[in-house]
């Protein structure tokens, strides 16, 4: 069994408790236009380019001309010689590396000296559950090795509850309360997401629900009120709620992928809105969290 990983690194207390090794797993079923890691969307990955190093000749078929990659040629290219390790370069790369779970397991174990302050390993994405079976297998092994695990998910996988026993901390996105709008922006129905969030709140002992607050998408007063109504049905002592403010850190990555970034200034939310929403969460007796 293998896993496709498009990014990895440590962070402190941002994606789970303590210092954590975070794996970003390739592939996502949603298509959120504000995504900060667009290179993780396609299951087959995407060819990323780095302008500084993109030179003519890097593609044996001549798809790089004048410092630009002609992606129409990539779409029909079978060999993908530019990605062969033999022709390693810094101008073109595939978004992910595929590794056997044994190798990832070893890497996690060897990294355990850095899991201080209750840390461990976090699987995020893309959408971590897109590689469900391999992820589950790895989580089982890590649990038996005593490594603290966290999964950050959009909550849309029907088998998600199968992972509950092996996940120490479950971080779930809740992008919208309304099914129609959820479908419009993510391309995925909301039903399973909400059902999984409710089940997690009932059955899992440590759940963090995150709301990415996006201007024009889910930031109106009504949106906030509806979110609160939804959360009140699941608010337990072991469930926290966190607001993630829209940012455009992923903008350049969309360009590196050869795609257009569709968000604009209207997507920004104000500190006042964050404060207001935060206040509403607290006033309704829900656990507000800030990582």
């Amino acid at each position: 069994m293998t896993l496709k990983i498009f990014q990895k690194g440590f962070n402190y207390s941002q994606d789970g408790r303590g210092n954590r090794l975070v794996y970003h797993m390739q592939g996502c079923n949603m298509r959120c236009p504000w995504c900060a890691n667009p290179e993780g969307m396609k299951m087959d990955g995407v060819i990323l380019t780095d302008k500084e190093w993109l030179r003519d000749g890097l593609c044996p078929k001549g798809a790089v001309k004048d410092g630009r990659l002609d992606r129409t040629e990539c779409e029909v290219c079978k060999e993908r010689a530019c990605l062969d390790p033999k022709y390693r370069n810094k101008g073109i790369r595939l978004s992910f590396e595929e590794k056997p779970i044994e190798e990832i397991y070893e890497e996690i174990i060897s990294s355990s000296p850095m899991f201080y302050d209750g840390g461990g390993v976090t699987f995020t994405g893309g959408e971590a559950t897109m590689q469900f079976d391999a992820l589950k297998e790895l989580l089982i092994r890590l649990k038996s090795a005593g490594i603290h695990t966290a999964v950050e998910t959009n909550g849309s996988h029907v088998r998600l509850p199968e992972l509950f026993p092996y996940v120490g901390q479950l971080i779930m996105d809740c992008k919208h309360w309304n099914g129609e709008t959820h479908m419009k922006y993510t391309g995925v129905p909301i039903d399973t997401v909400l059902e999984n969030i409710r089940r997690a709140a009932l059955e899992h002992g440590a759940v963090d629900i995150r709301i990415p607050l996006i201007g024009g998408v889910n930031d109106s007063v009504r949106d906030m009120e509806e979110f609160i109504c939804l959360f009140e049905t699941m608010g337990k002592a072991h469930v926290t709620f966190e607001i993630l403010k829209y940012h455009e850190f992923g903008k350049n990555k969309w360009e590196e992928c050869g795609w257009r970034y569709k968000m604009d200034e209207r997507a920004h939310v104000t500190a006042g809105q964050i404060k207001q929403f935060q206040k509403m969460i607290v006033n309704h007796g829900l656990n507000y969290k800030r990582s």
Binding site: S111, S112, M114
Partner: protein, 792 residues
């Protein structure tokens, strides 16, 4: 009369700050020149005396004749201004990487003085000519002759070591020159061999110190007569104190600091000009007994320490660089030795924020939380000095393995940047030799021909036993280590010759505080060991470049063996015609990203090279000590290294210390620390350097104290006391908590971001005013922040 009867803490602080401003307004230094002129006269006058006696008598003449002064802001008499020239490259605006050629020319210092007053160019030229033909200058030239062409492109480098020691001032502070002279005389009388004269020389050198104190006391007396009010009281206190110390033992903190300052002045004058990097040792432990005698408050003690700190700053750019003062640490029994003076010194450092002296802090598992809280303000105030951090829990076993006795471990301290030595007992000749692994690798690959100049500096492929480049690359490790062995032999021979040269300049005053009072042997003696511990340093450069290069060669031979010659050709013309090969090599695995193959390679290289270097013997038959520090020399030595198989371009910098090459550890701090855990720190008993540039935004706490704890938990704990690390843990770190953007803003608008004109940054073991630095070094600091490598 006590100091607190004259000034309160705030008044003392105001005086210290004015004294510093006064010192910084001094833009010329001639004292060293006058001292050298006196020395020349004495060479003739005392020519029939034995060297040590001549030198001690000369010291007395210098003390009698060197101009002395006490200004309006002095609380303590004494200065280092006469011991330093405006020389040190990194803070010299005229420094450039391509023109620097080390500190090996014994008369280069005469280029650092301009005619001033009655010091004419003729006088300068005459004295330069005289000093160019001394036995010392001749011996030093001989040392460089042994090195031959190898130093011209920094395959290795050698230098005569002055300074770089940690005198033990405690006995002298306690019993004064009077008590120590008695001890020396007793030892002299018990001695029946040639050392009797050396004991006599040490006694004379202590009398020279008394002359200096007497002159300051007379000056204070004269000035007191003309003064009134608080000034009169200040001068009277100074006079009374100078009449007592350093002749007698000190009885309170004020006296101890005054005594210390004059001792330090005399010690530096003995080696004028430019005895860089003398270190104080654990200043908190040295001064605490005297503070405790009168139960002086932390606030007043801190105010007095501010004057001590100002003393270490010489003229407009604080030229006496790398003098190191340390606080904290544990005892031989594992007890924490932090005391009230530790905190008073930190208070003084923080409030003054001066470019010198360097601050180091010893830590261990049981360091009290209060110390970390007290350190938070240093790390998280922009433009504030930050201490170097040492890990006692690692250094104790490492030093023990080096042969240090259990009872001496707690007295280790740091000379210069990060070289651990035992205070008063260890002559480590720390910067005696320098080895450039990057250059050796270049020569191995290129058949001994320098890619920079085309000169033959190493062995041909045939001499290395190879018939083709493919064969060279296939056997690169064996060839490399054989060449390291041979260059290290030459390096050791010429380094030892440099030590022989400097031993001609005996230092009886310094030797008093380096075991000489008991042994009767000069600290620099190359035939008899005057200190309990002795060795010679070797600073090893290019670890990460060689590790990355070996792995890149392996990768190429595995994936594209047919391109072996192509790679060598690409290196030969700095990748100009083969950008694809350049990218290929850059894309190979690199040290610092927790990749087993390359991290293990770095470990093996450090082990093998350390074994080779430490097998070389110095002038007394003691091993060379491996020090993986590159005090800005990663720039200077990189300048002489052609393109390397890791993809590094010709003349680019080498990696700093044991750190990954800039830009290559892009997986963040966690992986970087994990990679570093592989390194054999036990083989680095001479020290090593490592730097984290840390983005302050990673720290969320709302007070300095809490951020200090956060710093402990996020940086120090995982690095120094990692429970999952079974090996010897890292023992050194310095940090700059800032971002490249911030530093560029400071350069663009210093009035806004550094209104005092001082913006302190750490640069290897020392800290400096960022605004004083030469542009090349400013850019290096910004580059090496390498924030990506330390991201959370």
């Amino acid at each position: 009369m006590e100091i607190k009867a004259v000034f309160n803490a705030q008044e003392l602080t105001d005086l210290a700050k004015k004294r510093f401003q006064e010192e910084r307004s001094l833009n010329h230094l001639e004292g060293w020149f006058l001292a050298k002129e006196i020395q020349r006269e004495c060479d003739e006058r005392f020519k029939d005396e034995k060297d040590c006696i001549r030198i001690a008598r000369t010291q007395a003449e210098v003390m009698k004749n060197i101009p002395v002064q006490i200004g309006d802001y002095h609380v303590f008499a004494g200065t280092q201004d006469d011991s330093f020239a405006r020389s040190y490259a990194l803070i010299n605006p005229e420094f450039t990487v391509d023109s620097f050629c080390g500190y090996c020319d014994p008369v280069a210092v005469f280029g650092d003085i301009a005619p001033f007053g009655d010091i004419t160019q003729e006088r300068i030229d005459e004295l330069k000519e005289y000093n160019n033909h001394t036995p010392y200058a001749d011996a030093l030239r001989k040392a460089y002759d042994i090195a031959g062409d190898a130093t011209s492109e920094a395959v290795f480098f050698i230098e005569q070591v002055t300074g770089h020691l940690i005198p033990d001032v405690r006995r002298l502070l306690a019993v004064g020159t009077k008590g120590l002279k008695e001890e020396i005389m007793r030892n002299k009388n018990a001695c029946q061999d040639e050392r009797r004269e050396y004991f006599e020389a040490m006694k004379l050198s202590l009398e020279a110190l008394e002359i200096l104190a007497d002159r300051y006391a007379s000056l204070a007396d004269e000035k007191e007569k003309m003064a009134s009010g608080k000034d009169k009281e200040r001068l009277r206190l100074m006079k009374e104190t100078l009449k007592k110390v350093p002749r007698e033992g000190a009885n309170n903190l004020f006296e101890a600091i005054q005594s210390f300052i004059l001792i330090w002045q005399a010690m530096c004058l003995e080696q004028t000009p430019n005895p860089f990097a003398f270190s104080v040792g654990n200043a908190d432990r040295i001064f605490e007994p005297y503070r405790a005698k009168t139960n002086m408050s932390r606030e007043v003690a801190a105010a007095l320490f501010k004057h001590l700190l100002v003393f270490f700053n010489v003229a407009d750019r604080s030229w006496a660089i790398s003098q190191n003062l340390i606080v904290g640490g544990k005892s031989n029994d594992g007890e924490d030795l932090t005391n009230l003076c530790s905190y008073a010194l930190l208070d003084a450092y923080y409030d003054m924020n001066l470019p010198q002296p360097i601050l180091s802090v010893k830590l261990h598992k049981n360091t009290p939380q209060e110390l970390y809280e007290s350190l938070g303000r240093f790390f998280f105030t922009p433009g504030c000095l930050t201490p170097s951090l040492f890990n006692d829990d690692s250094l104790f076993p490492i030093l023990k393995a080096r042969g240090v006795s259990q009872e001496d471990l707690e007295d280790y301290s740091v000379a210069g940047c990060q070289e651990p030595l035992i205070m008063g007992k260890d002559n480590g000749n720390t910067t005696n030799s320098w080895l450039n692994l990057g250059k050796i690798l270049e020569l191995c690959i290129n058949g001994g021909i320098s890619l920079i100049t085309g000169k033959r500096l190493g062995k041909t492929d045939e001499e290395n036993g190879c018939k083709s480049k493919l064969e060279v690359l296939q056997n690169i490790r064996e060839i490399f280590y054989n060449n390291v062995e041979e260059f290290a032999d030459r390096m050791a021979a010429s380094a030892n010759a440099a030590s022989e040269a400097v031993s001609l300049l005996e230092v009886p005053f310094l030797s008093v505080m380096m075991g000489g009072a008991e042994s009767g042997i000069d600290v620099r003696d190359t035939k008899k060991q005057g200190t309990k511990y002795n060795g010679s340093g070797c600073l090893i450069h290019g670890l990460s470049v060689v590790a990355d290069s070996f792995i890149a060669i392996d990768t190429l031979l595995r994936e594209r063996p047919e391109d072996a010659q192509r790679m060598v050709d690409a290196l030969n013309n700095n990748f100009e015609d083969d950008p694809q090969m350049h990218q290929y090599l850059l894309s190979c695995p690199k040290f610092g990203n927790n990749i087993e193959a390359v991290d293990s390679e770095a470990k093996k290289i450090a082990e093998r090279v350390s074994d080779i270097v430490s097998s070389k013997k110095n002038y007394l038959g003691n091993p060379f000590r491996c020090d993986y520090a590159t005090p800005s020399t990663h720039l200077l030595y990189g300048y002489w290294v052609g393109a390397t198989p890791d993809g590094r371009k010709s003349r680019d910098m080498l990696g700093y210390g044991v750190d990954p090459l800039y830009g290559e550890a892009h997986s963040g701090l966690g992986f970087r620390v994990l990679s570093g855990m592989h390194l054999p720190y036990e083989k680095m008993s001479g020290g090593y350097a490592s730097h984290f540039g840390i983005n302050p935004n990673y720290f969320k706490a709302d007070t300095f104290e809490k951020k200090g704890i956060e710093f402990r938990d996020k940086i120090i704990g995982p690095l120094f006391y990692n429970p999952a690390n079974n090996g010897i843990q890292p023992f050194y770190l310095y940090v700059n908590v800032t971002t490249p953007d911030m530093l560029r803003k400071v350069l663009e608008n210093p009035k806004k971001y550094a209104p005092s004109g001082v913006y302190i940054m750490r640069i290897h073991g020392t800290f400096v005013n960022f605004l004083d630095l030469s542009p090349a070094i400013q850019e290096d600091i910004i580059t090496r922040l390498d924030i990506e490598s330390t991201s959370f």
